[in-house]
């Protein structure tokens, strides 16, 4: 504990952010300040003061923190490099964001293995509900006072908590999967929706409610998503979204892949986002390792990321039009998407999952002739978008099915953790590319489209306009592509530049080790948050000084978005729910990871 005293709040207060000093003064000397590479202040608070601290940050402090960005935990039991942190077996952490301050804070609570209880924050943020269920499911932490603390990602009868270090990671470590008739029946029975478990009654004074199970396989739910509806006739009284059918254990996977070989797994998180997913991950690793990325690599990254934003939004546009009853648009938009993917393929060799970014740069340089392809596309798409305005946006049925459906305001959005186009549709202009420029976005001219009503129609408008802005960015990349290397010359760059390998035995060994074992990243914690296709996507990486991540927390935008569905669909018809689900624009891999 001597290290802790050294770092405790009262002793080195001049290095600490003002907010931390303020909190320490108010909540006593037990608060411990921890510095991390990402420059987000970490404050350890005792668990009996957690709710007070959080209430203070949300409601009382000047320029408050209205957004509960992320909640999860860390299994600390095997971690070696913990200098400056209080003793802890499991650490629950809460990541808050203040828009007014444009600042983050991470509150951490140390928990003992024998006493994994912590008060719930569902009374302060409705968004905390699912995050706490996830932490319970993954770590077995009991959130006292939670209204319905049950598993969320694993099946209801699962044994153990997967992100604990003792839980098996591989399917091949466990018994082979079999599906007997008895097991099938038992599993189906476990999935039965029981309204009473969710505090729903079966009757009201004048009506018997009907319960409708939509999903997990239904053409309109965009993947393996299930939602149970409480209906009065065709009117939705309440809804219970049920997720976890797409849990691919990406966070556990990060604990056994090298820093380099984890990159392909990130592609498959938001599987419509392609290399956009690589970006926050490689940026976080680069920050931990202290790698500067050369300008050409930055611009190539931005260009490809924006291509994928367009690709994802095009798919959204077509499928949303289909959801509200238009059969043709999806065929137009898939043609554009094919054109776009042909550029992606020419540059990266892949279509949906190129895994093309590397720690310290990108995989290869751009091929000869890339500029002609890109120029053709940026000249071609605007006309098509104008055509779609006439075909879809101004179509009467399209409008009637979208306008004033599923609306929410900015305060509600923040309360529920909504980010991205869903947040900007409410009139809030928070786009991380502008507010916290990363990867060189400050060098580009583009506008942030915002909506006003926060309904389905505004969410479509924002995305359509974002495609035009992305085209603007791509055109700037095209016109101003810097020359120079596409990879950093830092020794941790993986794989290292080829030219360096054949110089002498040292560089050859270094190349060999970096490729075969992967880079060794210095111990530390780093969170990088970007404006992904569907909202804010962050990777919170904890390195214990090894060739693999100790803990990787992937905060995806779609997870909180789905949690909000009941709020915005009550009182609407089932057909409106389909429009609402479509307008959220999620993929289940981005929810369940």
């Amino acid at each position: 504990m001597s290290e802790v005293v050294e770092h405790s709040v009262s002793e080195n207060s001049n290095e600490q952010p003002e907010l931390v000093r303020e909190l320490a003064a108010r909540f006593g000397p037990d608060c411990v300040y921890q510095e991390t590479v990402d420059a987000i202040p970490n404050l350890w608070v005792p668990k009996n003061r957690l709710v007070e601290v959080m209430r203070h940050l949300k409601e009382e402090v000047s320029r408050p923190f209205p957004l509960l960005f992320d909640v999860s935990a860390i299994d600390e039991r095997l971690r070696e490099h913990r200098a400056g942190q209080p003793d802890s077996d499991f650490t629950a952490f809460y990541h808050l964001i203040s828009l007014e301050r444009n600042a983050d804070i991470r509150i951490k609570v140390a928990l003992d293995d024998d006493d994994l209880n912590i008060p719930t924050l569902t009374g302060l943020w409705p968004a905390a509900n699912w995050y706490e269920r996830e932490a319970f499911d993954m770590f077995g932490i009991n959130f006292e006072g939670h209204p319905n603390l049950r598993r969320i990602l694993t099946p209801p009868g699962w044994e153990g908590h997967p992100l604990r270090k003792e839980h098996p990671a591989r399917a091949t470590e466990m018994d082979p999967y079999t599906l007997s008739d008895e097991f099938l029946d038992a599993q189906q029975e476990e999935l039965r929706f029981v309204p009473e478990e969710w505090g729903m009654s079966r009757q009201a004074k004048h009506t018997d409610f009907m319960f409708l199970n939509l999903g997990p396989n239904h053409p309109s739910v965009h993947g393996v998503f299930r939602i149970a509806l409480q209906l009065d006739g065709e009117i939705i009284v309440d809804a219970v979204p049920d997720i976890g059918y797409h849990h691919r254990a990406s966070e556990k996977m990060a604990e056994r892949q090298s820093w380099h070989t984890y990159i392909p797994y990130t592609d498959r998180i938001d599987y419509l986002g392609g290399v956009m997913n690589n970006l926050p991950y490689v940026m976080a690793v680069e920050k931990l390792a202290g790698i500067e990325v050369p300008p050409r690599a930055q611009v190539i990254r931005v260009m490809l990321a924006e291509f994928f934003r367009i690709s994802s939004h095009l798919l959204f546009y077509g499928t949303y039009a289909q959801d509200v009853g238009q059969m043709s648009p999806v065929f137009y938009m898939f043609i554009d998407r094919e054109r776009l993917l042909s550029i992606i393929e020419a540059i990266t060799g892949g279509r949906m999952h190129p895994s093309w970014f590397r720690i310290g740069g990108v995989c290869q340089d751009l091929p000869d002739g890339w500029d002609t392809m890109v120029r053709d596309f940026v000249d071609y798409l605007p006309k098509r978008l104008n055509h779609y305005d006439k075909m879809s946006l101004r179509n009467g049925i399209f409008k009637r099915r979208s306008i004033d459906i599923g609306a929410y305001n900015t305060a509600e959005a923040l309360d529920w953790g909504v980010t991205g186009p869903g947040l900007r549709a409410t009139g809030c202009d928070w786009d991380l590319r502008k507010k916290r420029p990363y990867a060189g976005y400050d060098q580009f001219e583009f506008d942030i489209p915002v909506g006003s009503k926060g309904d389905c129609y505004d969410r479509v408008l924002v995305r359509v306009e974002e495609m035009r802005q992305s085209l603007r960015i791509i055109r700037q990349c095209l016109d101003n592509m810097p020359s120079g290397p596409y990879k950093a010359s830092h020794p941790q760059t993986t794989p290292p530049p080829r030219e360096r390998t054949m110089l002498d035995i040292e560089t050859l060994i270094q190349h060999f080790l970096n490729v075969s074992w992967g880079p060794v990243i210095p111990p530390g914690e780093c969170c990088v948050n970007i404006e992904a296709t569907k909202g804010w996507n962050s990777y919170y990486l904890i390195s214990d000084g090894g060739g693999m991540s100790y803990r990787t927390r992937i905060r995806t935008p779609s997870f909180p978005h789905l949690q909000m569905i009941p709020l915005i669909s009550r009182g609407f018809m089932i057909a409106d729910l389909i429009a609402i689900i479509g307008s959220i624009d999620f993929v289940m891999a981005d929810v369940d990871r």
Partner: protein, 232 residues
């Protein structure tokens, strides 16, 4: 096709059918066995179930849209209910939480029914050897065609569909259990890799990897395409 005029004098006999009639007949009448006819129509009117699990489903949907147009093979009528479908494409990762649902849906498909396993996850678990993923859908479903890739290109799915159609057209199923019992005789399904390796080994000259254009192809395949057309 040959055309001719017939004189229609009152009372005159129609001429005897000559070889032109025989040619017409050959074009419009097929003499076949009933089981062949049924197999042929089955193969060319597969009704896939609208079912997707993850990333692969996006490529499957792409195969249905205009560029790739699965309708060319008579398999575009995707059905939202398993009770109207006879083909399920397992497009994506089979999760432990989802496996009982997949089995339940499969049980509801109409007989005879077929399964295409699309993508590495459905084939074997692929890169996801983790606690929540079943290591291949064939752990609990009989698979007819495996389509490799992560995700497979739409063209690969179309090829998988063609292979399935081939086998459906050549498998022999009893017309009724009263006639032949319930024995299905299936044609062998050899590994496509084994079949195609010799041909692929011939591709020794590849296009320059540093320029955009068509995908690298062997010189044999490219011989009809001029160099200007290639780098467009």
């Amino acid at each position: 096709m040959r055309w001719r005029l017939i004189k229609t004098e009152p009372g005159a006999l129609m001429t005897e059918p000559d070889e032109a009639y025989a040619e017409d007949l050959a074009k419009s009448v097929i003499v076949t066995k009933l089981e062949d006819l049924i197999a042929w129509s089955r193969a060319n009117s597969l009704w896939p179930f609208n079912f997707g699990l993850s990333c692969c489903y996006v490529e499957m949907a792409t195969a249905l849209t205009s560029r790739h147009d699965m309708a060319r093979f008579g398999a575009e009528v995707i059905r939202a209910s398993p009770r109207q479908a006879d083909l399920i494409v397992i497009a994506g990762t089979v999760f432990r939480k989802m496996a009982p649902v997949v089995q339940h849906l499969y049980d509801q498909l109409l007989e005879p029914k077929w399964v295409i396993s699309m993508g590495s996850c459905a084939n074997s678990g692929g890169m996801f050897d983790v606690y929540s993923v079943v290591q291949g859908v064939d752990k609990f479903l009989p698979v007819d065609v495996y389509v490799p890739g992560c995700p497979p290109r739409p063209e690969a799915l179309l090829q998988g569909l063609n292979l399935l159609q081939d086998s459906v057209a050549h498998d022999r199923r009893p017309l009724s259990w009263l006639i032949d019992g319930d024995q299905v005789s299936r044609v062998p399904k050899p590994s496509q890799r084994d079949l195609r390796t010799p041909e692929r080994m011939k591709a020794t000259q590849l296009a320059e990897p540093t320029s955009v254009g068509l995908a690298p192809l062997s010189a044999d395949l490219l011989r009809d395409i001029s160099a200007e057309d290639r780098v467009k």
